[in-house]
C-alpha cells in the first residue's frame, strides 16, 4: 500500500486484513479454513511489516484464546475463520464478552450445518447476533456488502470494540471474501494505527509498576457478584442499542414494498429494486449494516411507511425473525431464502415481491 488514495484490486478477505492493519490491529491468530484463507495469508505477510504479531494457531480454539491474551495485553487483536471454525471459537468469544475485552472476529460464512460446504452462506446469523456461546452476552455484528465497505468497517469494528470493551464481529460470506473489487485504500472516519497505539487502556495487563495489580477475568463466584456484573453488561448493551445501529435505506419514502437483506444478498436485492421500479412498482430496500444491534428504527413508519416487506437471505429465515420483531405485526412479511450453496436469484426475488 504505497499511496493512501491509490486504487487497488483486492478480494474481500484481503481488504478486511488490510483494513484491520490500517486500523491498528497488531495481533492476528488464525487457523486455515476455506473460504477465508486469503485473509490469513495476507496477515502472514503484512502483519510483520506493520510490526505486529502473526501466529498460525494450532486450532481455532487456540486462535481465539491467543486473541484473548493479546487483547488483555492491550493490543488491537483479531482472528478470522468461517462457520465451523467460528463454532469452535464460541467459548472464547463468551470469555471475551465476560472479561470485557475488545477484539474483532471475522466470519466469512460458508454452508452448514456440520462440515457443510465451502460455498457462500448466511446461516450463522442466529449464532452471531443471539449470543453463540454461553451466557447473556452480545457481540457487535457488522455486515459489509462490498469489498470497500469490508475495508472501511474494520475501523468501526475496532473502534466500537474498544469503546464498549466488547467483541465485535464482521459477518461476511464466502462470496464477499472471494470477490475482487477495486478498493480505495484511504482512511475512512475512525482511528488509524498511530492513534490506536495511543488509546488509553488502564485495565490492560502491562505489569503493575506504579499501580495496583490488574486482573482480567470473567469469574464471579461470590453470591450476587455475577448478577451485578450481568446487570452492568446489560446496561452497556442498552447503550449500544441506543447509539450504534446502522443501516442503509434505498428509496424508502414512497415505497409500497420493501426488500430487506444484508451483505451479498443486499446487492442482489438492490438490483431487484431497480428492476421493480422500472416496472412501475414502488420498491425500496433496507440493508442492515449492524445486525446486532438490529436497526429497528429503519422499520418505523416515518422511515419506511410500506405495508409489505420481503426478507431475502442465504438461509432459511434467520434475520427474518428480527424483521418481524421490528415490525411487530404492523406489516405483511414475506420471505425468500436458499442455503447450501445457492442464493435466491433476481428473477425469483422479483417474482416473490410481485406477489406481495
Amino acid at each position: 500500500m504505497k499511496k493512501k488514495d491509490a486504487k487497488v484490486l483486492l478480494s474481500g478477505n484481503e481488504a478486511v486484513a488490510e483494513g484491520a492493519i490500517q486500523a491498528g490491529c497488531r495481533f492476528y491468530a488464525g487457523y486455515p479454513i476455506t473460504p477465508q484463507n486469503e485473509l490469513t495469508a495476507y496477515m502472514a505477510r503484512r502483519m510483520p511489516e506493520a510490526g505486529g504479531v502473526f501466529i498460525q494457531a494450532e486450532s481455532e480454539v487456540a486462535a481465539i484464546n491467543m486473541v484473548m491474551g493479546a487483547a488483555a495485553a492491550g493490543v488491537r487483536a483479531m482472528t478470522s475463520s468461517s462457520s465451523p471454525g467460528i463454532s469452535l471459537k464460541q467459548e472464547g468469544i463468551s470469555y471475551l464478552a465476560g472479561a470485557e475485552l475488545p477484539a474483532v472476529i471475522v466470519n466469512m460464512m460458508r454452508g452448514g450445518p456440520g462440515l457443510g460446504n465451502i460455498w457462500p452462506s448466511q446461516s450463522d446469523y442466529f449464532q452471531a447476533t443471539k449470543g453463540g456461546g454461553h451466557g447473556d452476552y452480545h457481540c457487535l455484528v457488522l455486515a459489509p456488502s462490498r469489498v470497500q465497505e469490508a475495508f472501511d468497517l474494520m475501523f468501526s469494528a475496532f473502534d466500537l470494540a474498544d469503546t464498549y470493551r466488547m467483541p465485535a464481529m464482521i459477518l461476511g460470506d464466502g462470496m464477499l471474501g472471494q470477490v475482487m473489487e477495486p478498493l480505495s485504500v484511504r482512511f475512512p472516519s475512525g482511528t488509524d494505527a498511530k492513534k490506536a497505539a495511543k488509546i488509553s487502556k488502564p485495565w490492560a495487563l502491562t505489569g503493575c509498576a506504579g499501580r495496583k495489580p490488574n486482573v482480567i477475568k470473567s469469574f464471579y463466584l461470590k453470591d450476587g457478584d455475577l448478577e451485578e456484573f450481568n446487570l452492568r453488561l446489560q446496561k452497556k448493551y442498552s447503550l449500544v442499542r441506543a447509539k450504534e445501529t446502522r443501516y442503509e435505506g434505498m428509496m424508502l419514502k414512497d415505497a409500497r414494498l420493501v426488500l430487506v437483506a444484508y451483505g451479498t444478498m443486499a446487492r442482489i436485492c438492490a438490483a431487484v429494486v431497480r428492476q421493480l421500479r422500472s416496472e412501475g412498482i414502488k420498491a425500496g430496500l433496507i440493508r442492515p449494516v449492524t445486525l446486532w444491534p438490529f436497526p429497528v428504527e429503519a422499520f418505523l413508519p416515518r422511515v419506511s411507511p410500506a405495508r409489505s416487506y420481503l426478507v431475502a437471505e442465504m438461509s432459511y429465515g434467520q434475520m427474518l425473525e428480527d424483521v418481524k420483531l421490528a415490525l411487530n405485526g404492523r406489516a405483511k412479511v414475506g420471505f425468500i431464502g436458499r442455503a447450501g450453496g445457492g442464493f435466491p436469484r433476481e428473477e425469483a426475488i422479483a417474482a416473490e415481491a410481485r406477489k406481495l
Binding site: 497488531r26 487456540a62 505489569g207
Partner: protein, 242 residues
C-alpha cells in the same frame, strides 16, 4: 530485631480457599518468593487456570489473566508475543494442562515460546470433586474410577513432562515434589531456574510439582505427603528431565 521471614510482596494478605494440606498454598508461595527474588513483581503477568487454582489472582499481588479451561498457554503465548519485555507464566493443574489443554500445551512448547510453566500434578481433579485426571495412577480410586484406574479401560498415567522434553523448542523440564522441606527447597530452585531461563530468553521452561490433595485422595495431610514420597514418585520420578 532482624526480620528473617515475612510474606513475599508478591503474595497478598489473604486466606486461601484451599483445603487443609493442599499443595497449592506452598506452590503459590514458592512462585511469589521467586518473583520477589528476581525483582519481577512489577513486570510479571501470570495466567491462572481453571481448576482449584482458578482464583490464584486473588492470592498473588501482580497482574494476572484468567484463561478458559486448558487455554492458559494460548493466552500466555499472545501476552508474551505482544509484551516480550514482560515475564509471563502459566500456573496449571493436570486436567488443565494435560487433558483439555494438551493441544495448546504441546504447540506452545513446540513453538518454543519463551514462557515459564508451573504444572501442579496432584493426579486428580480437585475443583470438580475428585475425578480421574490424565495423571491418575493405575489402581487409584477416584469418583470416575470407583474400582481404581485400569489400564485397559482408562489408559496409563500421562507423563506429559517427559513427552514435552522430547520437543526441540523445550529448553528446561524438571519434576519436583512438595512433600518435605528439603524437596520444597529443591522445587523453589527449579522454579527460580524456570523464570531465570525466560529472562535469558532461553525458551520454554516447565516445572512439574507433585502436590498433595488429601481431600480427594481420602488421606490425612501427613499421609498424603507420604503417598507422594512413597507411591507417586515411582510413576513420576523426581529430577531434571531436560
Amino acid at each position: 530485631m532482624k526480620k528473617i521471614f515475612s510474606r513475599p510482596e508478591s503474595l497478598r494478605d489473604a486466606s486461601t480457599h484451599y483445603c487443609p494440606g493442599c499443595g497449592h498454598g506452598i506452590a503459590h508461595r514458592l512462585v511469589a518468593e521467586v518473583i520477589d527474588t528476581l525483582n519481577l513483581r512489577e513486570k510479571v503477568i501470570g495466567v491462572a487456570p481453571v481448576g482449584c487454582a482458578v482464583v490464584a489472582y486473588d492470592y498473588w499481588n501482580f497482574d494476572c489473566c484468567e484463561a478458559a479451561h486448558g487455554r492458559a498457554l494460548a493466552v500466555a503465548t499472545a501476552i508474551k508475543r505482544c509484551r516480550p519485555d514482560r515475564t509471563v507464566f502459566t500456573y496449571q493443574g493436570d486436567g488443565d494442562l494435560a487433558a483439555i489443554g494438551t493441544n495448546e500445551t504441546i504447540h506452545a512448547a513446540n513453538r518454543g515460546e519463551n514462557l515459564t510453566v508451573i504444572f501442579v500434578n496432584n493426579a486428580i481433579y480437585g475443583m470438580t470433586g475428585g475425578q480421574m485426571a490424565p495423571t491418575t495412577l493405575l489402581g487409584q480410586v477416584t469418583s470416575t474410577t470407583p474400582l481404581g484406574r485400569q489400564a485397559d479401560l482408562q489408559g496409563y498415567p500421562l507423563k506429559i513432562s517427559e513427552l514435552l522434553a522430547a520437543l526441540p523448542g523445550v529448553k528446561y523440564v524438571e519434576r519436583r515434589g512438595l512433600f518435605s522441606p528439603q524437596e520444597i527447597i529443591k522445587a523453589k530452585a527449579a522454579i527460580h531456574l524456570a523464570f531465570d531461563n525466560q529472562l535469558k530468553k532461553n525458551g520454554f521452561s516447565l516445572v512439574e510439582l507433585l502436590s498433595p490433595c488429601p481431600t480427594y485422595w481420602g488421606m490425612s495431610p501427613v499421609a498424603a505427603m507420604d503417598w507422594i514420597k512413597e507411591t507417586m514418585v515411582k510413576e513420576f520420578p523426581l529430577g531434571r528431565i531436560k
